[in-house]
Every structure is written in structure tokens, then in C-alpha cells.
């Protein structure tokens, strides 16, 4: 019985927005699963709130819902789509928890939906730490001792049996927040107290520490015949105590003798059987005591995970794809290994190279946070590298990180050694430096507990970083079998080997004679450059292939769809440095290279590529420079007669201070070389400016400082457009919810704009067109504007133009139903806009789409949750509805800060905002909320005759606002910072809100939107709608309970909403 015939429609849950700990790997896994299930002839119902995913491209499912991953909306979807089964193991923790909830609230039973892959009991046994422990013990496996405490007294009572140091894990907190490692009795008391406070149920799990033990992960797969295979072993170079997601890891494991490794293998198999995952993949984590070889089980994830994505890329064994087939009834032996084709999937990959994964951190963006690495994950992305030796892989991974700030190592050796005792983001840079300065392996092992084998490797690297690259660069293949069988899958990496007899490198690449195009990926995810860019690269690959050329992908991010060997004709898993890229190009001899889709990473290489004689497709390097060079861009705007905020550039502090006056305060200052608004600040006076220049070494390395006049209370607008050099098509115009000054990546935006007016929209289109044509863009361009309501008319300012795919391309594409990246790629391959025959009405008939950013503050204790010109969000969600408020409410819910329907609102706003803030309070009062405020704001509110309770400021002593929030007496916080940037008072408030998981709105515009959203939500549950319905894409036949066609009224509205249709027509004209 291979394929199950008793099920037809399968629901897949995605993992939602990119957050720390749940990133692109779930798009990779989910997209694979969707493809496979479609191939198998099943109808797939997909739910994921994240528009920047390949899996939510309409062609990947029968019905695609970009809706909040919450029981309510998903139950609605189940009710109208009536899936037979739910596959919950592909969307990370989010999907598992959601599936659990849907089982518990009876939804699954009510609609007869079967959980496949992992059933309810298995999920519980794996996710509930207590149940898991029992299960392990029952299976005869050892786990660390542990105890549960709900009070410090209790904790102290058990402290002797657990011992110190101890691991404290608060129950049910976001990402282990509030927990930690207690080394001393004092710390113990403090962390337990903090943990209990942080835990909504006031409970902590106290666990025996195995700090310093080796940490190992095994990726296991099991099929319905109870056959189990280990896909890959992964060793964490950082021992226990640093989250696997933050550790440098290596595959396969390096330091265990076969005898010990086989014990881990036996135990991993015992674990998956005990937990009862019937089919699919699981990740089992072990700690191994280096001397005694004693083994304890740490945890198991009964689903695909970050590690399984890594394991898939490391071995060529596509875990998610196979897990999906197993879930619908196949057995491992019935599935062929699509790399060798000849052999079945019921085997264990063996590799003849070394894989190193390196985390990418972004602490520089979160001033004042604890940047130490511990038991909860803090990295925002990762890079992987493959080499024939550990050193090759390690150094390749190291150069794949693309750090924005190079770690400062020019400190005394003693200090370096001191730092090493506490794991940090630049641990390995420090280790190498210490070794260069003569630190001994013993000294380093003492401080880091890192296995001496790795320290020896590092010592060799420190001694001669070039040695590992002796020989000639030879492109080898990933084949799952160490060359025992011929492989057909073109998945390559470069190794340095002795040349063949003819003196030439022994490449394994089979180039073929079709012309090819090289697409440069975006490297490790980081804040400001995330999955959106991988999405565009994948679309480029699809388009290149469709054009009859071979698509050649270069990227080093193991989480992504772009590094799935299925995505391109040839995949090179390589660092995105000029040298590494040129080596591939030399071998591939491409028609051209695409640098427009991978964000800044490929753009940085553009000039170098061109001077090396490489042909870039699309927008020229000169055009890119014309857009990025302030002088040239300013000149261009002047030529076109468009307005930009007054600005100046300065080389020194003196110049900056001098220039400030004539630019005019408030100022937006930043170093010239930044991205994602790095180190950007708004200053209101010369003192502020001097302070900023003092703090940030903005003018360091002779870099220039940019000073822009900061436009206050301006509406920010983002435009994505296509240009072929002669025509321009506006893809979408997005109106930001938060005012300019909040980074475009961090502010919510709405499409179509809801309050700009046709005249202004026309000006925006006009200027976008003008800029695109003047620059000579071929492909995509993103322009950011600010609209300022001057007394008489509204004024339009150009903030910046990026002649490349922007962060918003996936969102716009999903909202308007036009694959912008694909279209842009076709233009770059030589087609004209006119010839594309774009549909006349791309925009959702009468629908409004809202994008909301998701911020990682709950991960970074001590970070201020205040939004500003520096981007700090990790991901985004989309909400679609008939009207703005409902769409906004959906987006909020999807982003994890669902707006309350009733309760208490705490309002505290700056003097400038007092009047408007009071008005907002009045609205919320009418909605039945209880209003509390700080004295000043309260006074303003009272003046409007709205009942309000005054709370003490922090300064005025307890019980004050923060106590109220921490105590759970507040359901919504509205807090706008005082313009002067003196933020300390509000900081405490926002911090408390984030800790408690209460929505905290820091702009009045945001507050207004929230109020409207709450009102809309009152009027009843928002309807769910699939992308296929939204864009009138025909639903594949055979769908039972096909969703009802849109009501007449909707059709009517479609008529009314011709904005975007016109946009396109005008654009093309």
C-alpha cells in the first residue's frame, strides 16, 4: 500500500513570520512538501501568514490562505475547505502548537480532519518537557535531573538535588525568555525569581546542568513499517550551554569514536519510537560527557526543523520532501533517492566532505542588550559552507557571514581570554586571535570547554589561514553516497585539491551546452536582508529556466529555497565573495549575471564583476551608483525637478556641526555606508548632534556622515515598479501606517493607499516613472517618498530609490497578484513591458492588504521596543480584507500582538501628541475600554470629558505604571516617545509590555489604525479568503466544497476599485 487513497485534501500549516528561531527553513521544507503532495495528486490547502514565502505562491497549493496562524481563522478555513488531513510537522513550533490547539478545541474532530505525520499524543510527548522526560525514562534513556518550582523557596529546596550550576526554564515564555544559567546561589535565587515572574503561570523548570558537555544532534526518519534511518549527525563546536541555533556546528560529527556514535544512533532510534512519531523526520539532541562518554537526551523535535534543513543541505537527502511522502503512506524503500535515482531512500547518507554552519548575529542593532550566548537562541540567520576539510569549510563559512561590524580584537590577550569564558557572537574571531598571540589549547579549552580536536584545527588555521586552500579549486558534487554511485543531481561546492595528471582541476560539473544565467543569492539572513530576497532569487531561477536557459544559483544560506537543488539547474553552495563567485563564473561562462534580487550582497559585488569583464543583466552598475551616490542622485532629482529633503554630507565633526544649521533641524544623521538604517538617528539640536557624533564613530574610516532634514509627521510611501528602460509599470503603492522616521522595514503599510488621494497618487506614479527612466532601470526599482501635509497643499519628497528588488516585492506580488520578480527577470532577459501583456486588473478586487512587521524584542532582554529609522524587524505578515481596519486587525493578530476587544488601555503620549492622544482615548472609551494614563496625558483626556484613572510615573514611585503592566492590569499600551529622544521613562513601560506580551503601539497613527481595527473586529469575525479567490485564479478542478464565488457586491466593488488597473494602463502607456 504505497499512496493513501482514503485522503484527498491535505492542509499544511506554515510557520508564519520570520522570527528568531523560526526562519526560512520552514519555507524550504513547506515548499518541498507542497510540491511533493501536488505531484502525488493531492489537493493542498496551505495556511501561512507570511507573504514573503515561496510556499504561499498560488501555484504551490490548491488554496492558499495568507491568514493568521491562530485557531479561529484556521478553523474557518477548515470549515470551508474541509481537508481530510492536517500535516502539522512542516511549520515549526507554530504549526505544532496550532495543530495541538485545533485538536484540543475539537475542531479537527468536528470536521473529521486526521493529523498525519505526528499525532496529538506524539506531539504532546515531545513538546511537554515533563511528559518527554517520563517517556525517555520509560524507554531506559537518561535525561538531566530536573524539578519544577513555583516559588523561590521551593526552588531553593530542590537546589541541592539538582546542584549548581542549574538551567532555569520558565514555563510558557516566548523563546525561553526570562530563563538562564544560574552558576551561584545568588544568581540561582535571582534567575528563578525572574523566571517565575516572566512565566504566565508562575512556574519554572530547574534542570541539572550539563554545561560543557559535547552537544550532538541526530536527524532521524521513520516510516510506517517502523524502519528508521539517521540522515545526518551534527556536532556543535560550542558545547552545551549555547543554543544549537547559535552554535557553530559541523556535520558529520567529528570527535566521537564509532562505538560511541553507534550508541547515540541506537538512542536516537529509541527516542523516535518512544515518542511515537509514526512517519517523518525528527531532530534528537544529546549531550555527551567527553571523558566518561555518558549520554543524556536533551530534547527531540517531532518535525522538520532548522537542523533538518541543514542536514538536507549537508547531505543532499531532502528530509521534508521525503517526510511528506511518508506522511501519505509511502515507505522509505518505496521512495527513490533522487540524487542517485538508482537507490532507495531507506539508507543513511555518507559524505566525503565537511560541512560547517555558522550563525549570523545582529546585536549591533539592539543597543544595551545582553549579547551573551546562552540557552535561548539569539542569532538571526546562518551561513553554511562545504569543504573537503574542516578548515576549508570553517573558513568558507566564516567569510560567508558578511559582518557589518568587524569584531574589535585589539585588546590585551588577558582580556581576550577573559571574554572567551563567556560565549559571545565573536567567539571564534577571539579564539583565532588568542591563538595567533600564543594562547595554548589548554588555556582555551579551560575557558570554552570546546573539544581539543576543534581547538587544534583552529590553531592550525591561526598559524596559516592559507594552508587549507593549497592546490587547485575543484568543484565537487554532493551525492549522499561518497561517490559510491553515480549522482545525477548538480549540487556543487568548491574544494581545494591536488590537480589531475594534466595539471588541471578535476571538476565534476557537467556544464551541458545550454546558455546559462548566474543568479547571486543574498547570503545569510540578517535584519534588513531576509527571506524576501531569497524569494526574488527563486523567482529569477524559475524565470531563467522557463526562458530555455540553465539557471545557476550561488548562495550560502542553508535555510532557503534558493539552495534547494531542485530550484536551479545547477546549485553552487559557495560564499558570496567576489573571488568565490568569479570562480563559478569562470567555469560556467554564463550569458550574464543577475545581481538585482539578492539585496545588498550581490550589489556589493556588481562593480567588481563588471571590471572582471562579467556581463550584468538588467540595470547597469552606473545606474546603481547614480541611485546610491547622494551627490549624483540629488543632481538627478534636481534635473527632474523633484523635491528631496535638504541634506548635506560632512567628512568631519566640525563640518557636520557647521552643515547642521543650513540643513535645518530636526536632522536625520547616519554614516554613509549603512544599510537597513544602521546607526541612524534623529537629532533635534546641536547638542544631540554632537552627542551622536561622539557615540557612533559615524565618521570613522574617513567615511562621510549624511545629514538629512528630518520631515516630521510625514506619511511615508513605498513604491515598487518595473521598468524596461522605456516603459514603467507601477507594481504597487504602499502607504505606511507609521509616519516617516520609522524604517520602512519596520512600519506597517497598506496597499492600496487609503488616504492619499488620486492627485497625490498620480504625482507619486509620475515621479517613480521619472526616476526609473532617468536612471535607466531595467528590472525592478523601489522608491520611497514622504508626503508632508503643508498648510495649503500636500508636498511630496523623494527619500531614496533602490534600483533593485526590494523587501516589499513579495508582499506586493501577493497583494496584486502579479509576480513582480519574475516579470522583472523577463525584462532583464530582454523582453519589453509591452510584450509582457500584463493583466488589466491585477489588484485584489476591492480588497485591502496590510503588511505588518514582526520585531524580535522579546528575544533581546534590555532592548527598547521603540521604533525608529534603524530597521530591527526580522519578518513580516500580511492581512487581507475588504476594508483597511479589518486587514490591519488581521495583520496585528498574525504578527502575534492581537488587539484586545475589551479591557484597559494605558495611554501616555508626548505633549505634541496630547490633543490627538486624548481623541484616541475617547474613541477607545466609546469602544468600552477602561482608560488609564500618566498625569499629563490624563489631564488632556479629562478635558475631553472622558473618565480616566491616573497612574504614577516610574519616577513617582511604586505602585506605578510599570507595576500595573507587569501585574497584568493593562491590555493595550499606547506610548509615543517625547520627540527630544529622551526615552528612558517610556523605555520601562515598553519593556514591561513586551515582557508581558501586550501590544504596545508607539505612534499615534498606529493607535488610530488600532482603534479602527478594534471597532471593525467588533462587527464580527473577519472572513478568510484564499489568494486563488482573491486573484480570480481558477481553482484546480475536483476540489470538494469549492469555496463560494465572491458575492455580487464584491464584483461591484471590483468595478469601483480600478485604481491599480489604471496604474498599469497609465504605466504602460
Amino acid at each position: 500500500m504505497p499512496r493513501r487513497e482514503d485522503i484527498h485534501r491535505i492542509m499544511i500549516l506554515g510557520s508564519g513570520p520570520i522570527v528568531i528561531g523560526q526562519a526560512a527553513e520552514f519555507d524550504y521544507s513547506g515548499a518541498q512538501a507542497c510540491k511533493v503532495l501536488a505531484e502525488e495528486g493531492y489537493e493542498v490547502i496551505l495556511v501561512n501568514s507570511n507573504p514573503a514565502t515561496i510556499m504561499t505562491d498560488p501555484e504551490f497549493a490548491t488554496a492558499t490562505y495568507i491568514e493568521p496562524l491562530l485557531p479561529g481563522p484556521v478553523a474557518q478555513i477548515i470549515a470551508r475547505e474541509r481537508p481530510d488531513a492536517l500535516l502539522p510537522t512542516l511549520g515549526g513550533q507554530t504549526a505544532l502548537n496550532l495543530a495541538k490547539a485545533l485538536h484540543e478545541d475539537g475542531t479537527l474532530e468536528r470536521y473529521g480532519v486526521e493529523l498525519i505525520g505526528a499525532d496529538y499524543e506524539a506531539i504532546r510527548r515531545a513538546e511537554d518537557r515533563d511528559l518527554f522526560r517520563e517517556t525517555m525514562v520509560a524507554a531506559g534513556l537518561r535525561v538531566p535531573k530536573s524539578a519544577i518550582a513555583t516559588s523561590v523557596e521551593q526552588a531553593l529546596a530542590v537546589s541541592d538535588q539538582i546542584g549548581l550550576p542549574a538551567i532555569v526554564r520558565p514555563a510558557f515564555t516566548l523563546g525561553g525568555q526570562g530563563g538562564g544559567i544560574a552558576r551561584t546561589r545568588e544568581e540561582y535565587g535571582r534567575i528563578v525569581a525572574g523566571g517565575i515572574a516572566a512565566s504566565p503561570i508562575g512556574q519554572v523548570l530547574i534542570e541539572e546542568s550539563v554545561l560543557g558537555w559535547g552537544e550532538f544532534e541526530l536527524e532521524v526518519m521513520r516510516d510506517r513499517n517502523d524502519n528508521v534511518v539517521i540522515v545526518c549527525s551534527i556536532e556543535n563546536v560550542d558545547p552545551m550551554g549555547v543554543h544549537t541555533g547559535d552554535s557553530v556546528t559541523v556535520a558529520p560529527q567529528q570527535t566521537l569514536p564509532d562505538s560511541v556514535y553507534q550508541l547515540l544512533r541506537d538512542q536516537a532510534i529509541a527516542v523516535i519510537r518512544a515518542v511515537g512519531v509514526e512517519t517523518g523526520g525528527a531532530n534528537v539532541q544529546f549531550a555527551v560527557e567527553p571523558r566518561s562518554g555518558e549520554i543524556v537526551v536533551i530534547e527531540m523535535n517531532p518535525r522538520v526543523s532548522r537542523s533538518s534543513a541543514l542536514a538536507s543541505k549537508a547531505t543532499g537527502f531532502p528530509i521534508a520532501k521525503i517526510a511528506a511522502r511518508l506522511a501519505v503512506g509511502y515507505a522509505l524503500e518505496e521512495i527513490s533517492n533522487d540524487i542517485t535515482r538508482a537507490t532507495p531512500a531507506s539508507f543513511e547518507p555518507t559524505i566525503d566532505y565537511v560541512v560547517v554552519k555558522w550563525p549570523r548575529f545582529a546585536f549591533e542593532k539592539f543597543e544595551g542588550v545582553d549579547a551573551g550566548l546562552t540557552t535561548h537562541m539569539k542569532s538571526v540567520g546562518e551561513a553554511m559552507a562545504i569543504g573537503r576539510t574542516f578548515a576549508q569549510a570553517f573558513l568558507k563559512a566564516m567569510r560567508s557571514r558578511e559582518l557589518d561590524v568587524t569584531p574589535a580584537l585589539d585588546i590585551p590577550l588577558e582580556e581576550l581570554l577573559g571574554r572567551l569564558a563567556q560565549p559571545g557572537a565573536s567567539r571564534y574571531d577571539e579564539l583565532l586571535e588568542a591563538l595567533r598571540r600564543g594562547a595554548t589549547i589548554e588555556q582555551l579549552h579551560e575557558r570554552t570547554s570546546i573539544d581539543p580536536w576543534f581547538l587544534h584545527e583552529l590553531a592550525a588555521i591561526a598559524a596559516d589561514p592559507q594552508a587549507p586552500f593549497a592546490g587547485v579549486r575543484s568543484f565537487k558534487s554532493v551525492d549522499t553516497c561518497a561517490a559510491e554511485f553515480a549522482a545525477t543531481t548538480p549540487y556543487h561546492y568548491s574544494a581545494w585539491e591536488r590537480p589531475g595528471p594534466d595539471g588541471a582541476a578535476r571538476h565534476e560539473v557537467i556544464r551541458g551546452d545550454r546558455p546559462c544565467v548566474v543568479i547571486l543569492g543574498s547570503g545569510p539572513n540578517r535584519i534588513g536582508q531576509g527571506i524576501e530576497f531569497d524569494y526574488c532569487c527563486v523567482h529569477a531561477a524559475m524565470t531563467v529556466r522557463a526562458s530555455g536557459r540553465d539557471a545557476v544559483m550561488i548562495n550560502c544560506n542553508p535555510e532557503t529555497v534558493s539552495t534547494d537543488y531542485d530550484t536551479s539547474d545547477r546549485l553552487y553552495f559557495e560564499p558570496l565573495t567576489l573571488e568565490d563567485v568569479l570562480a563559478v563564473i569562470e567555469l560556467e561562462r554564463p550569458e550574464g549575471v543577475i545581481v538585482q534580487f539578492g539585496g545588498q550582497t550581490p550589489l556589493r559585488l556588481a562593480a567588481g564583476l563588471v571590471s572582471a569583464g562579467v556581463r550584468l543583466l538588467g540595470t547597469s552598475v552606473d545606474a546603481i551608483d547614480a541611485a546610491e551616490d547622494r551627490g549624483r542622485f540629488g543632481e538627478l532629482l534636481r534635473r527632474l525637478g523633484y523635491q528631496a529633503p535638504p541634506y548635506a554630507t560632512a567628512g568631519t565633526v566640525e563640518e557636520a556641526l557647521a552643515a547642521a544649521g543650513q540643513v535645518g533641524f530636526p536632522l536625520l544623521v547616519r554614516p554613509s555606508y549603512v544599510l537597513g538604517g544602521r546607526a541612524m538617528e534623529i537629532v533635534y539640536s546641536l547638542e544631540d548632534l554632537a552627542g551622536y557624533l561622539g557615540r557612533s564613530n559615524a565618521h570613522a574610516q574617513g567615511r562621510e556622515i549624511y545629514l538629512d532634514h528630518f520631515l516630521e509627521n510625514a506619511i511615508e510611501v513605498d513604491v515598487d515598479a518595473l521598468c524596461d528602460g522605456t516603459d514603467v509599470v507601477i507594481g504597487g503603492i504602499m502607504q505606511h501606517v507609521e509616519e516617516a522616521g520609522i524604517h520602512s522595514g519596520d512600519s506597517a503599510c497598506v496597499l492600496p493607499p487609503h488616504s492619499l488621494g488620486d492627485e497625490m497618487l498620480e504625482r507619486i506614479r509620475e515621479q517613480t516613472r521619472g526616476i526609473a527612466l532617468e536612471l535607466g532601470v531595467v528590472g525592478l526599482i523601489n522608491v520611497q517618498f514622504a508626503v508632508v501635509q503643508a498648510r495649503a497643499a500636500a508636498e511630496l519628497f523623494v527619500i531614496e530609490a533602490n534600483p533593485r528588488a526590494s523587501r516589499t516585492v513579495p508582499f506586493v506580488s501577493k497583494a496584486v497578484g502579479l509576480p513582480l520578480a519574475k516579470l522583472a527577470c523577463r525584462l532583464m532577459l530582454g523582453e519589453s513591458l509591452a510584450s509582457l501583456e500584463l493583466p488589466s486588473d491585477p489588484m485584489s478586487g476591492g480588497y485591502v492588504a496590510v503588511k505588518e512587521a514582526v520585531l524580535p524584542f522579546n528575544r533581546f532582554f534590555g532592548a527598547d521596543s521603540l521604533l525608529g529609522p534603524e530597521m530591527r524587524s526580522t519578518g513580516e505578515v500580511m492581512g487581507v480584507a475588504r476594508d483597511f481596519p479589518t486587514a490591519f486587525a488581521k495583520a496585528q493578530a498574525a504578527a502575534g500582538s492581537a488587539l484586545p476587544q475589551s479591557g484597559t488601555v494605558f495611554v501616555t503620549v508626548t505633549d505634541a501628541d496630547k490633543a490627538a492622544g486624548a481623541g484616541l482615548a475617547a474613541q477607545l472609551h466609546d469602544l468600552g475600554f477602561r482608560i488609564v494614563a500618566t498625569s499629563g496625558t490624563a489631564a488632556a483626556i479629562e478635558r475631553m470629558g472622558v473618565p480616566v484613572t491616573t497612574l504614577r510615573k516610574v519616577a513617582e514611585g511604586s505602585p506605578h505604571v510599570v507595576d500595573a503592566i507587569a501585574g497584568g492590569h493593562v491590555d493595550l499600551v499606547i506610548n509615543t516617545p517625547t520627540g527630544s529622544g529622551a526615552r528612558s521613562d517610556g523605555w520601562e513601560i515598553r519593556r514591561a509590555a513586551v515582557t508581558r506580551g501586550i501590544p504596545c503601539i508607539t505612534t499615534l497613527s498606529g493607535g488610530q489604525a488600532a482603534a479602527r481595527a478594534i471597532r471593525a473586529a467588533r462587527e464580527g469575525q473577519a472572513a478568510v479568503i484564499s489568494l486563488q479567490e482573491l486573484h480570480g485564479g481558477a481553482r484546480p478542478a475536483g476540489g470538494r466544497n469549492a469555496a463560494p464565488a465572491l458575492p455580487e457586491s464584491a464584483a461591484a466593488e471590483t468595478e469601483a476599485k480600478v485604481v491599480s488597473a489604471l496604474e498599469l494602463k497609465r504605466g504602460a502607456a
Binding site: P257, E333, S346, R506
Partner: protein, 373 residues
């Protein structure tokens, strides 16, 4: 500097990292990622040079516990990036130091993947590891001077000198098992003794009478080097024993038993050596990930090399029906069979692991149980 030269003239350079001097023999490759010490001390590797496909070999040193016999049998180790790290707990010496002490040449820095791809295409062949100062002509001469594996009796070179008795290591006394030593791995004897067996280990030149004289409850045929076809004398003795005792055969032992009942063996193109081959038990449908090390295999019913379909096919032998019990899912070659009438069962792979997965250890329990019943 040092180099690998193959019979067909293919050459791969590297650095000498083991004992000085040269080594010749059959060049084979092993795809396991750990267990290098177990492999080189496995007598089945006699007269062979092992190419390790995993680049770093020697990561955790060597230890007495990992010896599969009393010495190194492989002629040389061919590696991409060898390590001599002895820092690991439980390791008693560095891998390369140990190879040197035991006068085993080794070469590192070789593009082993290129070498393996060559063998995969051309089949395993004779070759050698030579110091740079040995010219290719002399090297080639030394290589052809090596007898080819086909028709080579190597069991004699590695068998026990005289009968050895080994007590059980378990509390409960189990059966007495006669084991004919064609180059037995200590993991096999250990697995049997741990299950209560008392072992009577006979040289491979023994006779059926000598074996029966010890009044054993069962017969164990084990792994070993070389061509089963060259062991006619032993096959004849085994033929006398089959039927009178329960028999369990592993690897070469499996091939010997099969020849003893009239089945044929042949040489595989480049053999099975590794720890990841899937083998299906046709009776239960269970798939085991197995430890493999063999260059020869048994022909299936009707003499074909590969078997389509997953049925436990039966075919006639001189001792009644043979039932195919195990199949290699990689290349569908015979991995094990049963002779119900003769109370004999055999597997081509290595249930004792050492190195490799433990998936098939249960076969020893079944053997012991079968003896009891």
C-alpha cells in the same frame, strides 16, 4: 611526497604519513565516516589498501577496545586529510603514530574522491602506495607482481594456529559453538560469548572430524579475506558438517556455506565496504542499515547476480531448499539466505557491526535461540 598508483596507470599524489616504504595489493574504498581502526584491524582487509572516503581519519586516535584482531591487516591507508590527534578520552595513541609503529604505510592529501570515482568506473584493481623516490616503472612492476584476488586463499594467512577455547562472558552458560577461523573479527566472538556461548575456535585447515570431536552444539562460519572459491578444502569439510549441526555464517562464512551446498560465488565490481547499506529482511519486511565489507558475493537462484522483486524466493540446493532471506536494496544482490532442512542461515553483511550500526545484532540472539530449539 608519496603517491598511489593503480594497475591501469592512474596516479594520485599525496604526502607519506605512515611507515616508510611501499605497499601493494588490491585498492578498495570504505565509505564509513568513523571506525577506521576497526577496519584496518579486520582480517578481511588482508592484502588490501583501504581508501577512506571520509576526509579526516584519525580524529579520536586508537584504543585497545577498537581492535578487531591482534594486528593491522590492511596493507596501507589512503586518506584525504589524516589526523594524529590523541587527545580524545580513551584513546591510547595517535592514529598515524600507531600506523608507523606497526610499519603500515599511509598516504594523506590524496584526492580520495577522484580515486574512488576512478575505481567506481574501472572496478577495484591492484595498486600500491609508493614513496616519491620509487619510479613509476618500478612501482608498476611491484603492482603486477601481486597476485590478483581472484582464486587467492588468504584465510590461511590469518587463521588461528591451533584450536583455541573461549569461555562465555555472560552469567548464564549457553551452547558450545565451533567456530572455523577464516579471519574472525573480535566483535563476532564477543557477540557470541556475550550471549552465553562457549567457543571452540578451529584453524581454517581443520577437518569435519576435528570439529565434531569437540561435540559442539552449533557451527559458526565467519568473515575473512580472499576468494571463497580458493577455499575448496574448507568448503569440502563444511559440506560434511552441514545438516548435522545448526550453522550460522557471516560474510566469507556465508559464501563458504553457500558453496558447500552447491551455490556459486563471484567477484563484485568494486565490492561493498561501508556502514550505510540498506538490507531488507524479506521475511519481516524490516530494513536494516548494515556494516559491509566484501568483494565477492553469492549468485541467486538460476545463477543471476541481482534479484528483482522482494519475495523470499526458494530454490533447490544439494541440502534441500534455500530461501532468500536478505536482499541488498542498493544493488539487489544476495545478502542472506536460509536452509531450513539444514538448520543453516547466513548473511553477507556484518551483524556484529564493529564498526557500524547495531541494527542486526538480533541475528545472534536468533542463532543462539535456534541452537536451543
Amino acid at each position: 611526497m608519496s603517491y598511489v598508483l593503480l594497475e591501469d596507470g592512474a596516479r594520485f599524489d599525496g604526502e607519506a604519513v605512515g611507515a616508510p616504504g611501499q605497499a601493494t595489493g588490491e585498492v578498495v574504498f570504505n565509505t564509513a565516516m568513523s571506525g577506521y581502526q576497526e577496519s584496518v584491524t579486520d582480517p578481511s582487509y588482508a592484502r588490501q589498501l583501504i581508501t577512506f572516503t571520509y576526509p579526516h581519519i584519525g580524529n579520536y586516535g586508537v584504543s585497545a577496545a577498537a581492535m578487531e584482531s591482534d594486528r593491522i591487516h590492511a596493507r596501507a591507508a589512503i586518506m584525504r586529510d589524516a589526523r594524529n590527534h590523541a587527545g580524545h578520552a580513551g584513546s591510547q595513541a595517535g592514529w598515524l603514530d600507531w600506523l608507523r609503529e606497526n610499519e603500515v604505510p599511509a598516504i594523506s592529501g590524496v584526492d580520495t574522491r577522484a580515486l574512488v570515482r576512478h575505481i567506481r568506473e574501472a572496478g577495484s584493481m591492484r595498486g600500491g602506495v609508493f614513496p616519491a623516490d620509487v619510479g613509476e616503472r618500478d612501482a608498476a612492476a611491484a603492482i603486477v607482481a601481486e597476485e590478483s584476488m581472484v582464486g587467492l586463499d588468504l584465510a590461511r594467512e590469518v587463521t588461528a594456529a591451533a584450536v583455541v577455547e573461549l569461555a562465555t562472558t555472560a552469567r548464564a552458560q549457553g551452547p558450545t559453538i565451533a567456530l572455523i577461523d577464516t579471519g574472525v573479527k573480535s566483535s563476532i566472538t564477543a557477540s557470541l560469548r556475550a550471549r552465553g556461548a562457549r567457543l571452540q575456535i578451529h584453524p581454517c585447515t581443520t577437518s569435519a572430524e576435528a570439529v565434531m570431536a569437540g561435540a559442539p552444539d552449533a557451527l559458526m562460519l565467519v568473515n575473512g579475506p580472499g576468494d571463497p572459491a580458493a577455499l575448496g578444502y574448507l568448503v569440502a569439510e563444511v559440506r560434511k558438517l552441514v545438516g548435522s549441526l545448526p550453522v550460522f555464517g557471516i560474510c566469507l562464512g556465508h559464501q563458504l556455506l553457500c558453496r558447500a551446498v552447491g551455490l556459486e560465488t563471484y567477484k563484485l565490481r568494486f565490492g561493498h565496504r561501508g556502514a550505510n547499506h540498506p538490507v531488507k529482511d524479506l521475511r519481516t519486511g524490516r530494513i536494516e542499515i548494515t556494516s559491509q565489507n566484501h568483494g565477492f558475493a553469492v549468485l541467486g537462484p538460476g545463477g543471476e547476480r541481482t534479484i528483482e522483486g522482494d519475495r523470499p524466493v526458494r530454490w533447490e540446493t544439494d541440502f534441500g531448499a534455500a530461501e532468500l532471506t536478505h536482499l541488498n536494496l542498493y544493488d539487489r544482490t544476495v545478502e542472506g539466505l536460509r536452509l531450513p532442512d539444514a538448520r543453516a542461515s547466513t548473511v553477507q553483511y556484518h551483524p556484529e557491526a564493529g564498526p557500524g550500526p547495531h541494527d542486526a545484532l538480533h541475528l545472534f540472539d536468533e542463532f543462539i535461540a535456534a541452537i536451543g530449539g
